[in-house]
């Protein structure tokens, strides 16, 4: 299992994501600079959190034009697995690889808190069997308010594309949605940070379970490995 973590100018959770996979799960992990046009060998592409290009325009709106995004799109089209965390989720939405959009928190303030999340049954990898009914993950964002039109929402729900919902909605997201997948089931995005929930002193170690659930799409045996 090989992991590639993208680095945009302004990514600041790139090391966090790196250590989730490299230290938390002990998997071979490397960075891919945004000016690259090739991903190299990668079973999972992680788009990490941060403020790509400062996010002065709209979160992720510039990053989607980075040279590396062509390769990411090809990876997705070939069925490759992608996980976007926080700003990574925003970038994947802007790039059209995930449905919906993320706007300013309803409080108009940044929020850094640890949230209880309800796990949805969202396909063969990400579900209550692999994760249990509830997990706890930190959030840290100013623009995590998930929005989608009525038709889009309906198809999200019918196709079981919602991954996680906030138990106590911190940002005004529609349907308390904290994370979604694409219709095909190989692209995952979430505002909460599994990359801040894997060390012994973190508020939880549920980040490891989330990482494994995503990887289990191609490597079901990972769910049986001990922590």
């Amino acid at each position: 299992m090989k992991i590639a973590v993208l680095q945009f100018p302004g990514s600041n959770c790139d090391l966090d994501a790196f250590h989730l996979f490299a230290t938390g799960l002990g998997l071979p992990t490397r960075f891919v600079w945004h000016k690259e046009t090739r991903l190299g060998e990668a079973d999972l592409v992680v788009v990490p959190g941060g403020f790509s290009y400062g996010d002065y325009l709209r979160c992720g709106a510039i990053a989607r034009f980075s040279p590396v995004m062509g390769a990411v799109r090809d990876h997705a089209e070939k069925g490759g697995v992608i996980l976007g965390i926080c700003n990574g989720f925003q970038i994947l939405c802007e790039a059209g690889l995930l449905p919906g959009a993320l706007i300013r928190n309803s409080s108009l303030e940044f929020r850094c808190v640890t949230c209880d999340l309800a796990v949805e049954d969202a396909g063969p990898a990400f579900n209550t069997r692999s994760l249990g009914r509830r997990i706890r993950l930190p959030i840290a964002h100013g623009e995590g308010n998930y929005r989608i039109d009525a038709a889009g929402r309906e198809s999200l729900e019918t196709n079981h594309q919602v991954l996680l919902r906030y138990v106590d909605n911190p940002n005004g997201s529609q349907g308390s949605i904290a994370g979604v997948r694409n219709e095909e089931g190989n692209v995952f995005g979430m505002m909460p940070h599994p990359d801040r929930a894997f060390e012994r002193f973190h508020p939880s170690r549920d980040g490891i379970a989330v990482a494994r659930a995503v990887l289990s799409l191609r490597f079901p045996e990972i769910l049986k490995m001990s922590a």
Partner: protein, 772 residues
């Protein structure tokens, strides 16, 4: 030293004659102007006048405080080969550096952005964070944590709410984007800060000993590079602005407030650290902070014992037609000056091209000892570099003990006939104190800061000290950090108040399981030309220095912010202290929250008995008077040594320092952790001439700890052996009540009720209608 008169400048603005009026507007005294002429051997140009004005401002020159600061210890006496050596001392460079063992070190420093934040809270606070981060990575260190010390007026005025909202949003905007966690801080609300808030920001970074960089220009002919953002007209003369009192006209000084770009800063951090990792490439590096290009060129030349020549036409500019005065004095943010090894220009240019940043070759290191500046082929400034730095004027200001101290220091509750609390009064006072914003939970503030990025935060904001795991290559170490300063104590007794700031900070660290290592301070005071304000400054510095020496905690750097006065008067003297501590083992990390029912509660240090300077006196009786609480350094040292020893042998479940609001506030806060707990205590056996002083007095050297019942006898015995007073006052319970037996009778509160008062107070004050 004399130089030939400079050629006339084609720009008539730059060519104007230097009148006494112009000199005054630049904040220079007539005798200082004479000194300028002597250094130059003639009249300065307008550009030169501007350069002297910013370099000789208090902000850059410490002209009124330098003699005082010499009283601080800058070395750790008890340092060992493995730990605690000061590698870069206070005042030598942009930040001090201290050894934490195994070839690793930390660089840290605190700096103020008070005046900019008073005028433009969002940008003022944001650029304060940006500036202190640059001071750290310019040393070669990767920034790993931020904290801040904030002071505002009482939170009942719309103006204070606007300032708080703006400052917090500014810190949040900058720190979150740049990806450095804000792991702690302290915030006080007091009338004295009305109109003159304090915004002190601290950054800490980690580095290997061999990565330490200096702000030195050496090596004749080495190229000088300008990297980062382009120069604009923002922040013109900000250092001089920070060295004036605030007035009604200050709002029109907006151009003196800079605008920050945290994205640019993030790129600059990465590019600079990447560049510094190339062996032998960087000779010296310094950020362009206060006084921008001026300060960075003359300081690097002065430290290097060299000279520097720069060509302003090569400086990246984002506005048309800027003249040399504007370029030299601009405080545009996110810029650095780098001296590179000659012949290796391509290597630095490649690094910055990767990050899409400017890297302009603007000058050369010389051996003339002078700072020579050209624009459009004309010399606009030619000044001995040391005249701007080492030879800046130094003053010993007049000091006079303020008259109010005669009255306040003699005050006693008995003497003034202050009635003691009855049970009903005591019952009502606790929720009132808990909901005062100074004591209340700062959750509304810190939830807007990303305090978890870099995934190393162990103890989140809201406990006595922040604790962070440092990832150092393949190893890891734990450090704790705490900020402190009760300005009210410093107003009532400057020397002792400053000592208290220091010992309380140390006590917070010990409560977290840390050994104090080194300190950085931010001296926030009024106008030093007023003898009473200078007295406060002098006494506070003496009080800090005494505590530093006693506890062998050296000062590794800091900042001075004077002229903190609004039309309503000066702020309470506020020598903010921040100490970093080292935690030997992860298992020693201790929080302030009781963990389970049945734990015994032990009060260390004896029953509190003083009321002077307390929040209780201020809030319940509307008085800021009395003497500051007493400090016994010997007893404090015994207490801290004992507590740390007990934490290390695993006997302490939780520890919380008694501070604002005294015993009852500390006890309540111990119950506000993740577990829903209550407590039943009996204070009737403690010596207490007054109930108010026992419950809410702020006597120093007190800590409340919880220990398991099985460990209690050994804990009490060890305290006796260490000569530390220890009173077993009760137990943690599973009920949601806090019950207290006093000599007057029983008191009882609902813990959820107290928690709500404490937890939601600031949030309620800051609520914006209609927003979720």
């Amino acid at each position: 030293m004399n130089r030939a008169p400079l050629p006339p400048n084609p720009d008539p603005v730059l060519n104007q004659p230097i009148t006494p009026e112009l000199v005054r507007k630049h904040g220079l005294l007539p005798e200082e102007y004479e000194l300028v002429r002597r250094h130059l051997g003639g009249e300065p140009t307008l550009t030169e006048l501007g350069i002297f004005s910013v370099m000789w401002s208090e902000h850059c020159s410490y002209k009124n405080t330098r003699p005082l600061l010499k009283g601080f210890p800058t070395e750790k006496v008890g340092a060992t080969e493995a730990f605690g050596r000061v590698l870069v001392k206070a005042g030598e460079e942009n930040a001090g550096i201290i050894d934490i063992g195994d070839g690793w070190a930390i660089a840290f420093k605190i700096e103020s952005h008070n005046h900019p934040s008073a005028v433009e809270p969002f940008e003022g606070a944001a650029t304060g964070v940006g500036g202190i981060i640059r001071d750290i990575f310019t040393m070669g260190a990767r920034p790993v944590l931020l904290t801040n010390s904030l002071r505002f007026g009482e939170l009942d005025s719309p103006a204070t709410k606007r300032l708080l909202r703006g400052v917090v949003a500014g810190i949040s905007h900058y720190g979150n984007c740049v990806g450095v966690p804000t792991v702690g801080g302290d915030v006080y609300f007091d009338r004295s800060y009305e109109g003159n808030p304090l915004v002190n920001a601290l950054c800490l970074g980690t580095l290997r000993h061999d990565q330490i960089r200096r702000g030195k220009a050496t090596g004749l002919g080495n190229p000088v590079y300008y990297v980062g953002a382009a120069t604009g007209r923002d922040g013109l003369g900000g250092a001089a602005f920070a060295s004036k009192e605030l007035s009604a006209e200050s709002a029109s000084d907006r151009p003196a407030v800079q605008k920050g770009d945290p994205f640019m800063e993030k790129l600059l951090i990465e590019a600079c650290l990447e560049m510094m990792a190339v062996p032998g490439l960087v000779v010296g590096i310094q950020d362009m902070g206060a006084a921008g290009l001026t300060c960075s060129t003359c300081e690097t030349a002065s430290r290097g014992g060299s000279g520097i020549e720069i060509e302003l036409d090569r400086v990246p500019q984002r506005e048309e037609g800027m003249n040399s005065y504007e370029i030299m004095l601009s405080e545009s943010q996110e810029r650095m000056l780098v001296i590179v090894q000659k012949g290796r220009e391509r290597e630095i240019e490649e690094v910055f091209a990767k990050w899409d940043l400017h890297a302009a070759h603007v000058g050369t290191v010389t051996d003339t000892g002078r700072m020579l500046v050209r624009q459009h082929g004309v010399v606009v400034a030619d000044i001995p570099a040391s005249a701007l730095t080492d030879d800046a004027p130094v003053y010993q200001r007049e000091s006079r003990r303020p008259a109010y101290l005669d009255e306040t220091s003699r005050w006693t509750p008995e003497g003034s006939g202050l009635a003691d609390l009855d049970l009903a009064g005591a019952a009502a006072a606790l929720p009132r104190l808990l909901s005062h914003p100074t004591i209340a939970s700062k959750r509304w503030i810190y939830r807007q800061y990303d305090h978890m990025v870099q995934h190393g935060t162990v103890v989140l904001p809201g406990s006595d000290a922040g604790v962070v795991r440092l990832r150092l290559g393949s190893a890891e170490k734990f450090i704790a950090i705490s900020n402190d300063c009760n300005g009210r104590y410093c107003y009532l007794n400057p020397r002792r108040g400053a000592t208290i700031a220091m010992v309380e900070c140390l006590r917070n660290l010990v409560c977290a399981g840390a050994t104090p290592l080194a300190m950085t301070d931010n001296l926030n005071f009024g106008n030093p030309y007023k003898p009473e304000a200078f007295y406060q400054l002098k006494e506070c510095v003496a009080g800090l220095a005494e505590a530093c020496r006693f506890f062998d905690v050296p000062v590794v750097g800091g900042n001075v912010s004077l002229y903190n006065e609004s039309p309503e008067g000066a702020i309470d003297p506020t020598p903010t202290v921040s100490v970093v501590g080292f935690i030997e083992e992860e298992a020693h990390i201790t929080r302030q929250f009781a963990r389970e029912a049945g734990e015994r509660l032990v009060l260390l240090g004896g029953a509190p008995s003083e009321l002077g300077g307390s929040q209780f006196l201020g809030l319940i009786h509307g008085m800021k008077t009395g003497d500051a609480p007493g400090v016994d350094l010997g007893a404090e040292g015994r207490l801290q040594g004992f507590l740390l020893g007990q934490i290390r042998v695993g006997r302490v479940r939780a520890a919380h320092d008694l501070s604002e609001g005294g015993l009852m506030v500390a006890l309540s806060e111990m119950l506000f952790g993740p577990e829903r707990l209550g407590a039943a205590v009996d204070l009737s056996g403690l010596p207490a001439p007054r109930l108010d002083a026992l419950l809410f007095g702020e006597s120093q050297g007190r800590v409340l700890v919880s220990v398991s019942p099985a460990e209690l006898p050994a804990f009490i015995a060890a305290a006796g052996a260490a000569r530390v007073p220890a009173d077993d006052i009760g137990r943690v319970s599973a009920a949601d009540a806090l019950t207290v037996k006093t000599a007057l009778g029983p008191l009882e509160w609902s813990v959820p009720g107290l928690r709500t008062a404490w937890d939601t107070s600031i949030e309620r004050a800051m609520k914006r209608p209609g927003l979720g």
